[in-house]
Symmetry: C2
Subunit: 302 residues, 2 copies
């Protein structure tokens, strides 16, 4: 299959990138991050999460972030909504898209939320119905689609089953997420081929982590399966909660570099993204985990 000529990048750093940060990132920094990403041309920014501050203290300022950002026309600002309480807050905050999330691994689902995959997704039914009624976009995320920290292998059929459940709930977009970064191109192809056999490829996104260095090879494989939406995080913000010190979300800069080399359009200003990555890394007082970002910063400094 010819690779897509245009790719939509969903920039997840404000939510997925920051949610596990130990030190609280000031709300104004979060707002600046979202604004700069939108200004750089990302068509979709995952801005925050309307989750209980008991679970994710870093996202306690979700409403303030949403109230503080400039709303760029055409940009989709997504937020995570674990339940109706979160959805109502998201709706009040004017979110363009709400994200519901389940796993393809039974072990992961049981360990994290103490219920089966099927139960966990059924619980999202009210949120899905409310989103549809309110005319808000609905996205469903499938974690552990390429492997699980508890059960290891995840059957392709388990991923397809969650896709079907999300389609039944009316999801506009569905994320196939390699939460722990264990996937390799062959498996990515198997999963994406199976998923796109039951869902329009235009509605499927790839969310890859670079924990084992495989993310760009996996994205290339997914592109070859017709996938044209990818999640990335500037400077690779996010880390991996399942392996301390290991890499997490694939770095936006590395993905943009890849896509540019393949003549695939994203509408994003690459240089602006390198700046954002260096700025956020300085703010968090850590080395960026974007290889392209670091190489370009080193060249600029020379």
């Amino acid at each position: 299959m010819p690779v897509p000529t245009h790719v939509k990048i969903v920039e997840v750093s404000p939510r997925d990138g920051l949610q596990n940060e130990k030190g609280f990132v000031p709300t104004d920094v979060k707002i600046e991050l979202v604004n700069r990403l939108a200004a750089a041309g990302f068509p979709n920014v995952e801005a925050t999460s309307f989750v209980s501050p008991k679970w994710v203290p870093q996202m306690a300022d979700a409403a303030q972030v949403m109230a503080g950002i400039e709303r760029r026309p055409g940009t989709i600002y997504s937020v995570l909504t674990p339940n109706m309480k979160g959805f109502e807050a998201a709706l009040a905050a004017g979110a363009d898209e709400v994200v519901i999330f389940g796993a393809a691994s039974e072990a992961f689902s049981q360990k994290n939320i103490n219920c089966s995959i099927a139960e966990s997704i059924a619980r999202f039914e009210p949120v899905a119905q409310a989103a549809k009624a309110a005319g808000v976009r609905l996205r469903g995320s499938i974690s552990c689609a390429l492997g699980c920290p508890y059960q290891g292998e995840v059957p392709v059929e388990a991923v397809v089953d969650v896709v079907k459940r999300y389609l039944a709930l009316g999801c506009d977009e569905i994320d196939v997420a390699d939460t722990i970064g264990v996937g390799t191109p062959k498996r990515v192809r198997q999963v994406m081929d199976a998923v796109t056999a039951v869902a329009d490829p235009a509605r499927i996104s790839g969310h890859f982590h670079d924990t084992y260095g495989q993310a760009l090879a996996n994205i290339t494989a997914a592109l070859e399966c017709g996938i044209a939406i990818f999640h990335t995080s500037v400077a690779g913000l996010g880390g991996c909660p399942y392996a301390k010190g290991a890499t997490g979300n694939v770095a936006t800069e590395d993905v943009l570099y890849l896509l540019r080399g393949m003549d695939i359009d994203t509408g994003v200003d690459f240089d602006a993204v390198v700046d954002i990555g260096q700025w956020m890394s300085r703010h968090l007082q850590r080395q960026s985990s974007s290889r392209a970002g670091n190489a370009i910063a080193a060249k600029r400094a020379a």
Copy 2:
């Protein structure tokens, strides 16, 4: 084209990985590195370089390294030989393969050795003849095959021209090297397709740097062009002399993880390689730049 079922990994860390280290790595550590890599199953280890110690002080102990290592039956121990003096020392040291090296970039050739590409390769004629006469394997390396720090773009025809010159010199193996890591899969395919149109794919290797995070995507593209030999460096040892602080050689662990996921055999003991990477990183007092290596080390520690 179906990807190869077996890949030969040339482990270049003892030479390419260490040659730019500032602090002198003790000879016994170099010897242990070569021995452990050979014991882990690498069929080919780039052991050292018989180059003037004025140019590369880190390789001043080339003869001692070659004299000190255990010679594992079947393992090819390669060394770099810039001239006849180097070749004679390599022959005396019992090298199985000598490596000559030129660039595909005129600007790089002029800047580095003050002569044209054609002249630089003609100068290797005596070494090539002597290697053939002595029954020693001959490898030719093409730096800047995917881009140049001085001239930027490098024409595909320039790479093909060097390949032809190396074939005329009798090279058994020819390295297509992305010295500064700027390549992306589309360009890799163009170059590898052009190269394999004039040379047997079984004699071509891919030497990729991960400076922009593209190495694994590029290796996947090269595999799809029928390339079945790759150079890697444990823990990503080597850095990038053209961008301080940036990543250099692709990490062996990341490549092995990729290939294992593609069911491609290498004959290498992956766990042993992870150990070697962690050991060398401790010795050099630096974080490994292998993402797979770090993730596995973190999992082991947990």
